[in-house]
C-alpha cells in the first residue's frame, strides 16, 4: 500500500498568475511543514492535495488515490483550510455533526465522533455555542476538530497555529505529534520557519511558487548555505572593492562589470557577507547600491536567519 503524498512535476497557474511551478515531492508520514512567505504557493499545494483545485500540469496522488475521486480521497484526508468562514447559524457541535453526516455515518456515530473530536481540541465547553460568536483561536480549533473528526490518515492543516495563544499552541502541537506518532501524515503550513522547525520531521521551503529546499531541517539550512547567492554592488571604486572581497573565504567569485560601475559577487554565506559589507562601508568604500540577484534564495535565507521576516 502506498504511504506517501506525491506531486509529480505539478504546476498550477491561475490564468497568467503562477501558483506553483514544477513541484515534485514525496511526503512520507510524520509532521511535514510547508514554509514560505505570503503568496509562495502553500495553500495552492494543499488545495491540490484535497482536490479543491486541480493541477494545470502534472499529477497529485494521496496514498495512491487521485484527488479526482473525492468519494475515496476524502475518507483519507482531513483538511483544515485557511478560509475563516463557516456555514451560517450553526453551533460548534452542529457544525461537526452535520458535516460528519455527509460521510454517510449514522446519527449515533456522528454524535460520538463529533464529541471525541471536539474534546481533542478542548472545545467541549464551547461546543453548544454558535460559531459566529467564537474567537479566532476557537474557530481555528473547531476547524481542526472537523479535520480530525473522521479519523483521516492524512491531515492537511493550513496555518493551523495562526491565532492560537501559547498554551493552546503547545497543546495543538502535542496533538500533531500524537497524530504523527500514530503513523499519520500531518502536513502543516506556516510562513514562519521557526514556528514549525522544531516540531517538523521534514520541511519544505517554498518561494514564489517553487520548492526551493526540502528535507530535514538541518539539510535545509545546509542547502541554503551551499547555494551561492549573487549580489550586484554598484560603487565608485569597484576594483578596490573586488580585491577586498576576494580576501574573504565565503566569496566564490567577484567579477568587475564591463562598464566599470560595479562588482558582481557570489557568496556562499550571505549572513557574513552582509556583515563584512557593512565593515567595508565604514572603512571608506562608498557603496551606491546593493542588489541581491536571486530573490528566491535570498528571501528563504531571510527566513532562516531572520526568523519572522515581518
Amino acid at each position: 500500500m502506498n504511504t506517501t503524498v506525491t506531486f509529480d512535476n505539478v504546476s498550477r497557474f491561475y490564468g497568467e498568475v503562477l501558483g506553483v511551478n514544477r513541484v515534485t515531492l514525496s511526503i512520507p508520514p510524520g509532521i511535514t511543514s510547508l514554509v514560505g512567505p505570503n503568496g509562495s504557493g502553500k495553500t495552492t499545494l494543499m488545495n491540490m492535495m484535497a482536490g479543491l483545485v486541480r493541477p494545470t500540469r502534472g499529477e497529485v496522488r494521496v496514498l495512491g488515490i487521485s484527488p479526482n475521486e473525492p468519494q475515496r480521497l476524502c475518507h483519507m484526508i482531513g483538511y483544515a483550510t485557511q478560509f475563516d468562514s463557516f456555514p451560517r447559524g450553526l453551533t460548534g457541535q452542529e457544525f461537526i455533526y452535520s458535516f460528519l453526516r455527509l460521510f454517510g455515518y449514522s446519527h449515533d456515530r456522528c454524535v460520538k465522533q463529533a464529541e471525541t473530536a471536539i474534546a481533542r481540541v478542548r472545545m467541549t465547553g464551547a461546543a453548544a455555542r454558535k460559531i459566529a460568536g467564537y474567537s479566532k483561536g476557537m474557530r481555528q480549533r473547531i476547524k481542526l476538530a472537523l479535520a480530525i473528526a473522521h479519523d483521516p490518515r492524512v491531515l492537511i492543516l493550513d496555518e493551523p497555529l495562526n491565532g492560537l495563544d501559547p498554551l493552546v499552541r503547545n497543546e495543538t502541537i502535542a496533538l500533531f505529534r500524537e497524530m504523527a506518532h500514530e503513523g499519520r501524515h500531518v502536513i502543516v503550513s506556516s510562513h514562519v520557519l521557526h514556528e514549525v522547525d522544531q516540531i517538523s520531521d521534514q520541511v519544505i521551503l517554498l518561494s514564489n511558487g517553487y520548492v526551493v529546499a526540502e528535507g530535514q531541517i538541518h539539510d535545509v539550512r545546509g542547502e541554503i548555505k551551499d547555494h551561492p547567492m549573487q549580489v550586484w554592488i554598484r560603487c565608485a571604486q569597484p576594483s578596490v572593492l573586488a580585491s577586498k572581497l576576494f580576501e574573504m573565504d565565503h566569496v566564490v567569485e567577484a567579477r568587475l562589470a564591463q562598464d566599470g560601475a560595479g562588482v558582481l559577487v557570489k557568496t556562499r554565506d550571505a549572513d557574513r557577507f552582509y556583515r563584512t559589507l557593512n565593515d567595508l562601508a565604514v572603512n571608506g568604500i562608498e557603496l551606491e547600491g546593493v542588489t541581491p540577484l536571486d530573490d528566491n534564495v535570498n528571501s528563504v535565507y531571510e527566513y532562516l536567519i531572520g526568523g519572522e521576516s515581518r
Binding site: A50, G89, L102, F103
Partner: protein, 356 residues
C-alpha cells in the same frame, strides 16, 4: 449514497427555507394570492351592495332583459320601475344637429348591473356588467398563471433558490466543507438539487393553491362544488403539477447557471429572453425550453393573441402543442440533459473565493 443525499438535503433545506437572502422568493410566491384575495373581498362587497340596491328597488332579471334599445324613458320606468340611480347630463352628447340631453339609468337584479344610456329620452345602449363568474375568473387566472406566475414568479424564485445552491456558498466561502466530504460531486449536486426542488415546490405549490383558494372563495359553495364536479379537480391538479414541473425545469437550469456564472443577472436575463421569444422560434428550437412544455400542460388556454399585431402573429410559428405525456417527457429530457451537464461541470468545480 442515499444517506449522503439525505444529509446534504437536511443541511440545504434549512438554509433555503430560512435564508434572509431568500425572503423575496416568498413575496413572489404569495403576492398573487394576496391580489386575488383583495379582488375577492372587492367582488364580495360589490355583490352585497347590489343585493341591497335590489332589495330597495326590486326588479326581475327577465324584465331587465326585456328592455330593448329604442324604448322611451316612460316605457322603461313602466316596465322596470324607478332605477336605483339616475345621472343626467343636459346637453351631454354632441350630435350632428347640436347637443342632446343624456341620461344614465341604473338597475340591478342583485347580480348583474344594467346601465341604460338614454339620449333624448330613448334607450341608445345597454351596458350589462355581469357579476364575476367562475368562467370569467378562471380565464383571468389562466392568463395570470402563464404570463405572470410561471414566467416571472416561479422563474425568479428558481433563480433565487437554485442559483444560490453553489454560488451562494462560493460567496460565503463555505463550499469547501461540502467538497471535502467523501462523495461524488454528482451526488452532492443531486442532494442540492433535490433540496432546492423540495423548497421551491413547497413554496410555489402553496402559492398556487392559495391563489386558487382566494379566487374561488367568494363564489357560492354551490357554484364551486359544481365546478369541482366538472373540470375542477382536474384543472387544479394540472395547475399544481405544472407548478412543480416549472420548479423541476427552471431549477435544473439555474443550478447549472450557479455553477458556471458568478453574476446571477446575466444567465437570468438570458434565459428570460430565450423563454420570452419562445413563441417566435421555429418548432425545433421551441423544444429547447421549459415554457413550451409548461404551456402545453396548462389546463385552460390563455391566448396571448389579443395583444399581438398581425406582423407578430405571422412570426409565430405554429408548432402543434404536444400532448400532455409528450410535454412531460420533453420537459424531463431537457431537465435531465441540463443536470447531466451540470454534473460534468461539478466534477471540475474548483474552489475560487477570489474577489469578484
Amino acid at each position: 449514497m442515499m444517506a449522503q443525499i439525505a444529509s446534504v438535503m437536511r443541511l440545504e433545506l434549512k438554509k433555503t427555507f430560512f435564508s434572509r437572502r431568500g425572503l423575496w422568493v416568498y413575496v413572489l410566491a404569495f403576492a398573487p394570492a394576496l391580489i386575488y384575495l383583495i379582488h375577492a373581498v372587492d367582488v364580495t362587497r360589490d355583490h352585497e351592495h347590489r343585493q341591497a340596491l335590489a332589495a330597495a328597488h326590486p326588479v326581475a332579471t327577465e324584465t331587465l332583459h326585456s328592455i330593448k334599445e329604442g324604448m322611451t324613458t316612460d316605457e322603461v320606468v313602466a316596465a322596470a320601475g324607478e332605477p336605483y340611480a339616475v345621472k343626467t347630463f343636459p346637453g351631454g352628447r354632441r350630435r350632428a344637429g347640436g347637443f342632446r340631453d343624456l341620461a344614465i339609468y341604473q338597475y340591478t337584479d342583485g347580480d348583474s348591473d344594467f346601465a341604460l344610456v338614454l339620449v333624448e329620452g330613448k334607450v341608445e345602449r345597454i351596458n350589462e356588467q355581469d357579476r364575476c363568474n367562475l368562467k370569467k375568473d378562471s380565464a383571468i387566472f389562466a392568463t395570470v398563471f402563464q404570463f405572470f406566475y410561471l414566467r416571472l414568479a416561479v422563474f425568479f424564485g428558481c433563480v433565487g433558490i437554485f442559483m444560490n445552491l453553489f454560488r451562494g456558498e462560493m460567496l460565503d466561502k463555505s463550499l469547501h466543507f461540502y467538497l471535502l466530504a467523501p462523495m461524488r460531486r454528482e451526488v452532492l449536486l443531486a442532494g442540492k438539487y433535490l433540496a432546492g426542488l423540495v423548497a421551491a415546490a413547497t413554496i410555489f405549490v402553496t402559492g398556487t393553491a392559495l391563489q386558487l383558494a382566494a379566487l374561488s372563495w367568494h363564489f357560492e359553495p354551490g357554484a364551486v362544488s359544481e365546478y369541482l364536479r366538472g373540470p375542477g379537480w382536474g384543472q387544479i391538479a394540472a395547475y399544481l403539477g405544472v407548478t412543480v414541473l416549472a420548479c423541476i425545469g427552471y431549477g435544473s437550469i439555474f443550478l447549472l447557471a450557479g455553477l458556471v456564472f458568478r453574476n446571477p443577472i446575466i444567465p437570468a436575463a438570458g434565459v428570460l429572453l430565450w423563454e420570452s421569444i419562445n413563441l417566435f422560434l421555429p418548432a425545433s428550437l421551441k423544444k429547447i425550453s421549459i415554457i413550451f412544455y409548461l404551456q402545453a400542460l396548462c389546463p385552460v388556454v390563455a391566448s396571448p393573441d389579443r395583444g399581438l399585431s398581425l406582423l407578430q402573429r405571422l412570426l409565430i410559428s405554429s408548432a402543434e402543442p404536444p400532448q400532455a405525456w409528450v410535454a412531460m417527457l420533453g420537459l424531463m429530457v431537457v431537465t435531465l440533459a441540463v443536470l447531466v451537464f451540470a454534473g460534468r461541470r461539478a466534477r471540475r468545480l474548483e474552489i475560487n473565493y477570489g474577489t469578484e
